[in-house]
């Protein structure tokens, strides 16, 4: 039995050895906003924050999380970035979008007014096959409305 703190709520769960954080979130806690698109840390779709730092939950073992606070897209539902993404049309199929927003939220937390270069640097680990990148850049540039 391990304890996991997600979006400000504490959970106890049975986790077999080898359980990833993404599996724990999706399968044990039903938080399916976190998507898994490659399962091996190459695409960024599964991005969540640990104490505010974006990490890849599909290659993070849930037993290594410890007391760190997990923030998923469900915990960012009211973040202004969500509306900024929709306003800028920064999503098409939407499968990578939760991961994009979690990454962007971590960026604007430390750099509230990021430049285009900073956005491109911080977000280059989040792949989008629909090609919404120009809209994502616009959404993050204008996230404060």
């Amino acid at each position: 039995m391990i304890e996991l703190s997600v979006n400000g709520q504490s959970h106890e769960l049975e986790a077999p050895v080898g359980r990833t954080l993404a599996e724990a979130l999706r399968l044990d806690l039903g938080l399916t906003g976190t998507k898994v698109a490659c399962g091996e840390g190459h695409c960024g779709a599964c991005t969540v924050q640990l104490d505010g730092v974006p990490i890849l939950s599909c290659i993070t073992l849930v037993h290594t999380v410890g007391r760190r606070q997990v923030t998923t897209i469900e915990g960012l539902a009211e973040h202004p970035l969500v509306d900024a993404f929709v306003r800028a049309d920064a999503l098409q199929c939407g499968f990578c979008t939760p991961g994009q927003i979690v990454s962007a939220a971590a960026l604007v937390e430390t750099r509230p007014e990021p430049t285009s270069d900073e956005i491109r640097h911080a977000m280059s680990g989040n792949l989008c096959r629909c090609g919404t990148y120009p809209r994502i850049e616009e959404a993050v540039l204008s996230w404060q409305g």
Binding site: H42, R120, S124, L127
Partner: protein, 755 residues
Amino acid sequence: MARLIRTEKEVEGRYSEQWIVVEEDVLEQWPAGPRGIVGRPARRLDGLERARGQAVYTADFSPPGMLHSAVLRSPHARARVKNLDLTRARTAAGVRGAIGPEDCHVLVREPSFQGAPVAAVAADSAERAKEALELVEIEWEVLEPLLDPDEAVRRESFVDEPRYYTRGDIDRGLAEADVVVEGEYRTQTVLHNAMETHQSVCRWEGDTLEIYTSTQYIWGVRDEVADALALPRDKVRVVCNFMGGGFGAKNSPGDYTFIAVALAGQTGAPVHCALSRREENVASGNRNSTIQRLVAGARADGTLTALSGEYVNAIGWYGFSGPTYGPMEMLYDCENVRTTSYGAKLNSPPNAAFRAPGFVEGTFGLECILDELAAKLDLDPLELRRRNHADHDLVEGRPFSSKNLLDCYEMAEPHWERREAVRARSDDVWKRGVGLASQVWYGGGGPPSYAWIRVGSDGRAAVVTAMQDIGTGTRTVMAQIAAEELGVPLSHVRVELGDSARGPFATLSAGSSTTPSMGPAVRAAAADAKRQIIEIAAQRYELEERVLDIKDGEVISADGGSWPLEEVTGLLGDAQILGKGARGPNPTGMRVLTFGIQVAEVAIDIETGEVRVERIAAIHDVGRIINPLGAQSQVEGGIIQGLGHTLSEERLLDPQTGATLTQTLDSYKLPTIADVPEIVCEFVDKPDEHLTNLGSKGLGEPPIIPTAAAIANAIRDATGAEIHSLPITREEMLRALREAEERRRAREQVGAAQA
């Protein structure tokens, strides 16, 4: 009135004759230009749901008791199963079912490409299922694979009949030419890599088979599954409310659906079958590689006299030959054209439609050789294209329903005129240049397609149709059309789609056909509902129907009266108005096509071969634009996929074994946000007056078509190097630069000798 017609139906350039029940399209088109809602930017109706991670994709759907599956796929490109024993796998902990070639028709004993499915298991968890695969006892006889497309042509190993096309007289055309250029062009195999992999959850509910699947065509999945399993079509229900991208690879049920169905049948439980990313990159379809041997001839004034192309499409074990020849036959006014097309059958994974299949590849070759011709003729490439503009369709001798390519050329001028300034920003290392390429594609859509609209007593409307929104934003476009016609705010319309049991037939989301097929049906349904509301209002207020209209949520009369819509619809109580609409036929005897041009600006590091695309301007002619915001996203997305195709993406096969070497997203290089240039997007935005009650064509595919050629032509402009092969890796770039340098030296030597 319903009318039965025999008509031509086109999907991605493949035509078929069929009987279709249509209804007359009696509505006049709206005037050109933005209206209250149509033609104005609209946010995605489902944007918040998707952005917040609340949208439930097939990957997120998990009914109680659902089992997970794993598929044993052939590691060999060609082999025979000598012995297969599932006993140990079937009895392993947590395993509930196991199937082999005897249990499911998609499982094979003689795999003919790496990744062909052989056996599958269902277990309580995905881990258990994967572990159980290790317990499958299998003995292989490995056979020699056929992997070389030219060799396949020599052996006449084809997936379909070779295609030969001739118009005019190619020899006469070449004799009349002042300049002739020849070249061999190659395009690589690329992979769709939608973020949500191919997957289905299947379960039996009573005597009905339910399939929750990530698909571009719920009706196609329904029909194919029903036919394969000899079930009445009505007993198969297909659901896809949200899906994570397709790009052409998700038009059919796929092996995973049939495997899930078979395992659900064996276990009596719902079964999820999802491809892993690695399986996705091996066995879920691809844009096949091509070899194109081209000849182009022109008079000194630029008039094209001859175009000839031999296209070898390396299809794989099965699949279809895309119309790689299409651009050569359709784009220019050239009397003498000859094309030959082969679909090489190989021991490599089958292709699948990928965003403008054939035309992306064929446009690269054609538009590059056209620029070589322009260079030889010392003609401006844009002027060369203008001089060969086709004012009617030369393949079928028909007029176009509309064509505004010359407008596109005019709108391209300001971007094209930047080339002096762009070149002037070159230095010793970075050379800069500008290139362009034209584009033609289908995208007219067609019948049959149907929609209903339900209006309740609260005056709110629901569009009901069993289409799917694969991320292109069609849900929003349909709501805009319905709101515009009904005269209600966009926020009062919702769209219920994605369920074959809960709406009328709708077309597939492929071939740039969803908006031009579904849009007119939705408008017709909205008009039908509006007519019924006005009938009720006329009786309630004792006015003639012809003086009444609905605008901005109010019923208004010609003499200035106005009543809130809810006051009229409130009379319904719990009842509802149902409007029905159908897509009318396409204009008889006309060719419906889409056109465009892109202008690319590039910088090349001539020391390292690095290519940076700095700006792309895209001008497309697709009739009326419904949602300018979503349309811009489609163009940007197409260009960015085109950028990957041009510069970084390549599926590599081991030439000895036929094994895919690029199975992960760190070896298969998709574009990232850091790779994206400035993109300028413009539309002609003139409704096609002959096409439906909307005048809109499709936009999903056109933007990816000219990108590679525009970039390659810009590289020529910058450096003189001729690109003949995609992707333009650093090696390819350096090779082309060396070749250009050798050509320059040879010319100098000839010049010196003559002096």
